[in-house]
């Protein structure tokens, strides 16, 4: 369950060992943009020993690898894929590269006899990715889509603005594809790390459009993002009422019943349960 996913550069011990203190629902250990070409070897080894030896608190562990077309990806996957990680994040994803990654993951899981299946979060950050987004979303193991607005803007040859009009359509398409396949829609990070007001505005807008999580490029952003993407007290209260009403003897066996004059049916009940599950996981209840 995701609200905030925090990027952590994989070659910085100081950052790695504090990755779990900021309250992020997941951490994205970055082997791509945060690591210079000459340090890729050092970063993947450091991340590997870190994940093996460091007593990290429980949270979703995501690793952003390099683009699948580069020669380093297979080395990375060989080293990094294990039972200790949950998810691989794939930059510059296309339908083709996502399928290649799926295949590689299956092979490595088989070779290493993993007990779990690694999930995939493709990053939608090229014009082609946006056009293929529904196909990408339905690839097996894909359980979330991250919009990557910075790279997308350069692909679109437009300046990236605070108003974000230039990414309105890709944002909406990413959300539609994610929701159509019942996976997470994860919003692009807000890169102005000292502008809390701007972050609040941007995150609230993304939530309104349908995003259910947002990536963070700085630890200070986590708290704000968690707050915005958490269910509100009013929502939690309403969900509890729906569940309570459903469990009354007169309603328990009905497919649908009425509450406050409104029809409550299975999707609404399921949603209420899911919301309460989240609220519990995030200590809001």
């Amino acid at each position: 369950m995701r609200r905030s996913l925090l990027f952590i550069p994989s070659n910085s011990p100081a950052m790695l060992q504090n990755a779990d203190i900021f309250g992020a629902d997941g951490v994205i250990f970055d082997l791509e943009d945060a690591v210079s070409i000459s340090e890729k070897d050092a970063a993947r080894t450091l991340l590997d020993t870190f994940l093996t030896m460091y007593p990290l608190n429980k949270l979703e562990i995501i690793v952003r690898i390099n683009q699948i077309e580069t020669s380093i990806t297979s080395k990375e996957l060989e080293k990094i894929v294990s039972d200790r990680i949950d998810t691989i994040m794939l930059p510059k994803a296309t339908k083709e590269s996502t399928l290649i990654l799926l295949n590689q993951l299956r092979n490595i899981e088989h070779e290493k006899k993993l007990t779990k299946k690694i999930n995939i979060i493709p990053i939608i950050e090229m014009a082609t990715s946006v056009l293929e987004v529904s196909d990408i979303a339905k690839v097996e193991r894909v359980n979330g889509l991250l919009l990557g607005a910075e790279d997308l803007a350069s692909d679109l040859e437009v300046p990236r603005t605070l108003e974000s009009l230039e990414i309105l359509m890709p944002r909406a398409l990413t959300i539609l594809a994610a929701k159509a396949h019942k996976i997470d829609a994860i919003d692009t990070p807000f890169i102005h790390k000292d502008d809390d007001e701007g972050l609040v505005k941007d995150a609230k807008f993304a939530k309104q459009l349908g995003m259910n999580a947002k990536a963070c490029i700085h630890p200070n952003q986590v708290e704000i993002i968690n707050e915005i993407f958490s269910p509100s007290m009013a929502e939690i209260h309403q969900a509890l009422r729906i569940i309570e009403a459903h469990e009354r003897p007169e309603n328990i066996h009905k497919g649908a019943f009425s509450l406050d004059g409104k029809m409550v049916d299975k999707p609404i009940i399921d949603r209420a349960h899911k919301l309460i599950e989240k609220a519990k996981a995030w200590h809001l209840l």
């Binding site: 910085s12 011990p13 100081a14 060992q17 070897d41 050092a42 080894t45 450091l46 590997d48 020993t49 870190f50 093996t52 030896m53 460091y54």
Partner: protein, 85 residues
Amino acid sequence: MLTASAGTMESNDCLMIVSESDQLTIDLESIVYLQFKDQIEKVIRETLKEKGIEKLHVHCQDKGALDYTIKARLLTAIERLENMR
């Protein structure tokens, strides 16, 4: 004599320099020398043993790195040394 290095002198990291040698020598400087000298040396020796290396000069300048960092920096330095050969 070939030499390779990995890591940095930043806080919580270490700079690991390895050189070809006809014996095994470890030269350790650390800001937590009194508290963790034995542990750091142990990690270095165990890592070398894992890699089957019996002859190497290891110079570690430690800025408070934890075990996983010591091990990773040593592994990378060794890998870089091997790639030079």
